[in-house]
Symmetry: C2
Subunit: 373 residues, 2 copies
Amino acid sequence: MKLALPGGTQAFLAEYWQKKPCLIKGGIQNFADPLDANDLAGLAMEAEVESRLVVRMGENWDVQHGPFETFPSTDKDWTLLVQAVDHWFEQSQALMGLFDFMPRWRIDDLMVSFSVPGGGVGPHVDQYDVFIIQGEGKRRWRVGDKQPLKSKTPHPSLLQVEPFETALIDAEMAPGDILYIPPGFPHEGYAITPALNYSVGFRAPSGRDLLTHFADLAIDEERYNHRYSDPDLRPRDKTGEITLPELNRLKSNLTQIFDDEATLYRFFGLYLSEAKHELDLAPCEPAYHQEEVSQLLEAGVPLYRLAGARALYLAGVADTLFVDGEAFALPQGVAEALANSDAPDTALLAAQPQALEVLTRLINRGYFFFEEA
Amino acid sequence: MKLALPGGTQAFLAEYWQKKPCLIKGGIQNFADPLDANDLAGLAMEAEVESRLVVRMGENWDVQHGPFETFPSTDKDWTLLVQAVDHWFEQSQALMGLFDFMPRWRIDDLMVSFSVPGGGVGPHVDQYDVFIIQGEGKRRWRVGDKQPLKSKTPHPSLLQVEPFETALIDAEMAPGDILYIPPGFPHEGYAITPALNYSVGFRAPSGRDLLTHFADLAIDEERYNHRYSDPDLRPRDKTGEITLPELNRLKSNLTQIFDDEATLYRFFGLYLSEAKHELDLAPCEPAYHQEEVSQLLEAGVPLYRLAGARALYLAGVADTLFVDGEAFALPQGVAEALANSDAPDTALLAAQPQALEVLTRLINRGYFFFEEA
Ligand SMILES: O=C(O)CCC(=O)C(=O)O
Ligand SMILES: O=C(O)CCC(=O)C(=O)O
Ligand SMILES: [Co+2]
Ligand SMILES: [Co+2]
């Protein structure tokens, strides 16, 4: 499989990314479905996996949440959606790998849907960019321009918008076609024949996300204890007033927190490395000893990052690797190697004995694993 | 009673406030205890009132939390401390009123202690300014200079510091004496004869306080939904890196929240008007009708603010009154009248019929009350 974006990735991003939707016929050359409807149904039966079944009945919609034991016997108007398939289904890595030119921290997960004819989630607007890849089957997708549309919740867990008339894109998608949709563009898709769709979804924190999670860190780490102070206070008559200089001082008491860029950037590393969906994390039993890890690295046994695990480092401070919301101290270069490839260079790692302790810990925690013999 | 600070309040603040401790012999002229040890014990028996009993047994300390049913029968080495006495004991208003030249939002509460000889809480450091007023009895107080001192917790709910040798102030205090202590200066007091002490305490939010409570408001009000965006994204090799431009953009995504000064200042009003200790709040039964309130105001029946209730307004936007963590819309001038005096000018209020609805609500909620006939 090979990604073929119009004009190449750079031109594609410049023209479309976060700007306008784009239908890319044959966007994936030699496309092959990494899974089939049965695989997806199997995942939706697992308790750890997030899944939803959306059924349309004329004007009414029903939503059920997995894990499922059975699926509708009808062959019309339903779709099964499974989140974070990249975490649970090894074979989906190849598909995710096609997007390995995007910053890892911006990518969220791979959602996969299986729809029978007429199946879809209805018209809606997402807050994140998405590449929807057509797999097996045919599905008609419509994308409208950004516009004010009334929200609808035909079911408490189904957020839709009112139908949109004019479509920027209205197309029947075939295997290997890609539909790119930036945040805010309404879209809807209905299967024509039983169809698989793969959504490579992105994440983009809101101001509120950053604020509230940063506040959690401040609490956990008992930071920012500096108290308001006013040694220049003068007696006053209007004792019920908060004066303008006081408001300004309160403001700077709050905003001076953000002058501490080291903590703020560390927070970004921690927060953005946290997976939004459960990982298929299995600690090693028995645990590796450092010597074993060292031997395996020297023997060149391939090492992989756990699918879906996010390993990030900050520009300029590549001696800390952020993995799933935790910081790990590693020699400069090792963090980069572990973060920039799904299969880090074992020769490079073998040459860094100072990294061994932390690397052994990461392996024993399940974030990296050796290829089994 | 009259406050007599050295050189007057203005000179006192300029020289001492938040700078250095000061013993003010005879700081309150014609001092009269607003309560006695029995009154305080009575308060400590109430479930709504926060109280502590601190007992010293040689090197060991014991702390019990109220409400209490009995008190130690020994006449040595214990002290009973009651928080927010100003909320619960009407007669303490006169004492609080002496500090009515300080911004109301900076004042926290009146803590009162009764100590038998040898009683005290041990050497400690507070994070807030305090005026400790000596009432009935005699107590020896020592205050040391700001210095690094090891923390000690001789009991899980008693935070002390190791003993400090040199004292800036070492004095036997008599009724009407005041000891002013800025944040950070270690101090300890032991009763010589059974003694009452009145602590007028201040509050000063930390950066963390402001951050975490502001984050709560952002959640409650679903604010700051703007998401990170990067329409200028380019393909990259080092996909595990969060680049410097990205870190900066994340930072500004977070800090741009504080450009919204209207919300931030409103937050300060809400947060700083919230009492830290429970209020003696009793909704009116039966509730007043607006017409009754109007008649009472016109008849000049005195109106009072509930003791301990915080009513604040922001400079420049005096058409919102913040009371105990809520905002109330009121005509310009009315908010000032309600905030700046414990007994607001009823003639002024009577002349503002547009204020009647909100004022009636505030009265029915129990934040303001008419003098009973
Ligand atoms: O596959 C589907 O039915 C929904 C896909 C979609 O709307 C999305 O990924 O944003
Ligand atoms: O009255 C007491 O024993 C404690 C007073 C005190 O240390 C304070 O108010 O800061
Ligand atoms: Co969508
Ligand atoms: Co103290």
